[in-house]
């Protein structure tokens, strides 16, 4: 398997992988806290536990490459270069948010970063990613699109249509599955007769690999192989990352539930992607515990600043903002 290749990864990339994961984790914990205090309205779908997937996938991409996302999209946007201030402002429904407060957590996006949108409809981002990949091939610009989606997405028709089309048209795309074992609140084995989503790849005519989604280096290495394949004109690939969602599908708690056991949650948390990676980095003398702490503190300070920015930002004005941005006016 490609991920077993002993790729020499530079210190810079290792730090980048770490940094993006910590950025996601701390933002999400802060967002969860704010949501629990009703300082963030609406639904929130936290990415905590799955950081290695977004970080490993996006570090393997170029800045200009595109990604599509899911309900659980904060992590993808952060990993693609999203900034805390407009993210936090968007969560709070402020005019200074990435979407001027019109999208919120579930639709957060920044097309300038190649982020084609979080999406409130399961699986619906995948056909859109295929469209972006088509455009890359059409323009012969050497760019790659990475579609992030969950195990649950692979049961919806749009996913099947998109995967088949991407393979039939031989497009530069990577299908990045976050298999967190639950489709919302229903265990994977209750709604799928197969264990590994990657098995589906063969049906479309693309390679499918399984990686430990709690191991950011494993994700990164698999993503590098798939991205290189796409960029070289060799077509789509699928990567299934076995990962886990610490919180519920939506909301800010995840324990004491009937759909999964607390023991199971604890077991996965023992293999926390950030803790695992920091232990590896310390052992390899790449990053000391002290350095890691400093990185956390620096990011936390940035988040605190973003919260302040968001709370002090103006709300959108119904008189002015309600009807703008429905249509693009002729230039």
């Amino acid at each position: 398997m490609a991920t077993k290749e002993q790729t020499k990864i530079s210190k810079e990339v290792l730090f980048d992988l770490h940094r993006r994961m910590v950025r996601i984790r701390l933002l999400e914990e802060a967002a969860g806290q704010l949501a629990s205090e009703a300082r963030i309205p609406g639904f929130i779908h936290l990415y905590v536990g799955e950081e290695a997937v977004a970080a490993g996938g996006c570090v393997a991409l170029k800045e200009e490459d595109q990604i599509s996302s899911t309900h659980r999209g904060h992590g993808h946007l952060v990993a693609k270069g999203g900034e805390f201030k407009p993210m936090m402002a968007e969560f709070m429904g402020k005019a200074t948010g990435y979407c001027k407060g019109k999208g919120g957590s579930m639709h957060i996006s920044d097309l300038d970063l190649g982020m084609l949108g979080a999406n409130g409809i399961v699986g619906a981002g995948v056909p859109i990613a295929v469209g972006a990949a088509f455009a890359n091939k059409y323009k012969n610009n050497g760019l790659v699109t990475m579609a992030f989606f969950g195990d649950g997405s692979t049961n919806i028709g749009a996913f099947h249509e998109a995967a088949n089309m991407a393979c039939a048209l031989h497009l530069p795309i990577v299908f990045m599955c976050e298999n967190n074992e639950y489709a919302e609140y229903t265990a994977r084995e209750r709604v799928m007769a197969i264990t590994d989503v990657a098995d589906r790849a063969a049906a479309y005519g693309m390679p499918g690999v399984i990686v430990d989604g709690m191991d950011v280096v494993a994700v990164y290495e698999a993503a590098r192989v798939a991205v290189a394949r796409a960029r070289n004109g060799e077509g789509p690939s699928m990567i299934e990352c076995k990962t886990y969602r610490y919180y519920d599908h939506a909301g800010v708690s995840g324990l004491g539930r009937t759909y999964r056991s607390d023991e199971e949650v604890q077991e996965w948390m023992e293999r926390d992607p950030i803790k695992l990676f920091e232990a590896q980095l310390a052992k390899a003398k790449v990053m000391s515990e002290e350095e890691a702490k400093e990185i956390h503190a620096g990011i936390q300070a940035e988040i605190d600043e973003a919260i302040e920015f968001a709370e002090n930002s103006p709300l959108p004005d119904p008189e002015v903002d309600m009807l703008t941005d429905v249509y693009t006016e002729a230039s």
């Binding site: 407060g101 084609l116 949108g117 995948v126 859109i128 059409y138 429905v326 693009t328």
Partner: protein
Amino acid sequence: MAVTEQEQRIIRYNDAFNETLAELLREDPDIFIAGEDVGRYGGVFQSFAGLNAEFGDERIVDTPIAEQAIIGLGIGAAAVGLRPIVDLMFMDFVMVSMDQIANQAAKMKYMFGGKAKLPLTITTTGGAGLGAAAQHSQSLEAWLIHVPGLKVVYPSNPYDLKGLLVSCVRDDNPTIFTLHKAMLGSKGHVPEGLYEIPLGEANVVREGTDATVVAIGKMVSEAQKAAEALSEEGIEVEIIDPRTLLPFDMDTVIQSAKKTNRIVIVHEAVKNGGIGAEISAQIQEQAFDYLDAPVTRVAAPFAPVPFSPALEQSYVPNAESIAKGVRDVLHRNT
């Protein structure tokens, strides 16, 4: 105005569609067409004939039968800078792809705070009359005009078809362009070269003083036949073809309502929840005091489109039922 050779050029509705696409493709390399059977075969109605041969597989793309992915292909490609034309072979397939149309394409710009620009055109064929039965004959414009973010266009003749199609493709919003499949062979004057008819501008097809008929798509030609018959009875009908159903040129309809004081709305879709209901509501909101009779709708009965020609013919409104509607608003029916 002198009638030049150019003005006399008469071509088929379907050929006007094909010619317009070819001219647009030659003009703008960012335009491509994707859909079921549009490539090598040229489309089930041959609307895309010859395009694959001229522009190649890269630009005239045969897709799987996968309507959600076809629309998604267009959305993603438009979002990153191309100007896609994607085809839904039959308008009935709108339902199969409704999530991508209504939840994705239509809302992307708004949800993203204005950042997205989606120059996407969805072409399709609507309407009954070919014995194609309940799943290949519908007019689903009412489903689409309910969705903020879309533009919906329905040309009634070859000249408008060309001008409106050019405007749709050049527009930076998702537009749905509906051909009427029973009009594909109809003929009319179409100039060579590209020209635009602005979206959201109705056409007063016939001026009249006694009643206004607002007719959509193929119903425009039926309304014209009705108007000729009614003229012999001394009734002069004004006919308005909205051409664009979203945005809708209500001003032109209201002006006419204030002039004739009597309105008949004609569409092929079922009456219940059809676009006629919306037009009627807006007329009473804006011109209630000018009306001398209730607004009347001539539309299909509340049943799926039937197969048998015996049923289908009386399902779809025609000149006769439109004339009856006009006599109703004039209280001339005995």
